[in-house]
Assembly symmetry: C2
Homo-oligomer: 191 residues x 2
DNA sequence: CCCTAAAGCAACGATACGTTGCGTTTAGTA
DNA sequence: TACTAAACGCAACGTATCGTTGCTTTAGGG
């Protein structure tokens, strides 16, 4: 092999096992209770492997965030802006309800302030997500479903932000009905 | 003394020194990097005192949250809904920019999932804050500045949520200009 | 089938954890 | 002012996890 890297086979199995073990451990004891040795044990992997491949806990979390962020989510295109936005927001509801999605956001919120690489990974993640949502809005703008002088990025933020606030800050439930209420209240006057 | 408690004098000094040391340590190394011994050292207090008074790291953070949450913030009443809301949102901007405010929210986001007492403290905190903001909106509603069928609580959430999203999730800057944009976009069509 | 990247294993010192026993300071009371 | 007990300081303890190292074993890819 040219560069000597060996990505397939055992390596990828180890990687998958470790990342899933991290998620499981986050669920069990929270981010503050993460232990490298426990992660290794749950993943059926030696502690040494973690340090050799990731170097530190921060890099491991950073990799997890990048991994979860890399999962492509489809951008809806039904021809109706409201239907597209509804689908997008319901996707956020599902993501926030899932363990992986919650771990992703929580990891960023917790670590990003003191880990530059994680902050970059997070920035890439959010810019991609918001770009997809913004594209949806711009399609609707071309169809005349929203006025041309609308601040698209701000609109996207206003749509999704309340769900994050409830999920992580005020600890209130987030479901599709709530998403619909936010959507109606935000888009209602614009139409 | 009857119950044997002794709240004044040295006890309160120690408490103040410790809580301020926690905030300083959060700034230095983040929540994940909190060490009881380092906190004790910075506060000029023995490690034993921390464990005897608070029992655990989680309870210490919980107490800090309760302490910060107990600080009364004035609810503006200028006679104009938009001015009141602007003042409220600028207050949030200031709080998020301050170390204490960021530590408060971050502590809740980090620990609340696995600490029931902290979750209760956080719930009290947010319900008080949102009640104040909702009162402002209802005053405006009585003056006819907002329609009577408006969902007040949802409106408050929609106003403040984008600032929290930027500060903690997408890691983007939050200033008064942004708060004004959110306010204008959210209230513009209602008026 | 070989070569070697990658994982396993075992042990290390260092650090922080949480706890205990005992002596000292200090606040509140009589 | 003197007394009492709550609160803190101090020192030491065993434990757990950290992060690292040297060496051996496994298994993927040419």
């Amino acid at each position: 092999m040219a560069d000597g890297s060996r990505p397939g086979g055992r390596s990828s199995r180890v990687r998958a096992a470790v990342l899933s073990a991290v998620v499981a451990e986050v669920q069990r004891a929270g981010f503050a209770g993460l232990s490298m040795e426990r992660i290794a044990g749950r993943a059926g992997v030696n502690k040494t492997t973690l340090y050799r491949r990731w170097g530190s806990r921060a890099e491991l979390i950073s990799d997890l965030v990048a991994e979860l962020a890399a999962r492509e989510i489809p951008v809806p295109d039904t021809g109706s802006l409201m239907e597209d936005l509804r689908a997008l927001m319901h996707g956020v509801v599902t993501a926030l309800a899932s363990l992986e999605g919650a771990a992703l956001v929580r990891g960023v919120v917790l670590e990003a302030e003191h880990a530059d690489d994680l902050r970059e990974a997070a920035a890439r993640f959010w810019s991609e997500r918001f770009a997809g949502a913004a594209a949806v809005v711009r399609r609707g703008m071309r169809r005349g479903e929203v006025s041309a002088d609308c601040d698209v990025d701000l609109l996207v933020e206003r749509l999704v932000a309340p769900m994050y606030l409830r999920r992580f800050v005020t600890q209130q439930p987030v479901d599709r009905a709530y998403a619909d209420r936010v959507l109606a209240a935000t888009m209602g006057p614009i139409t």
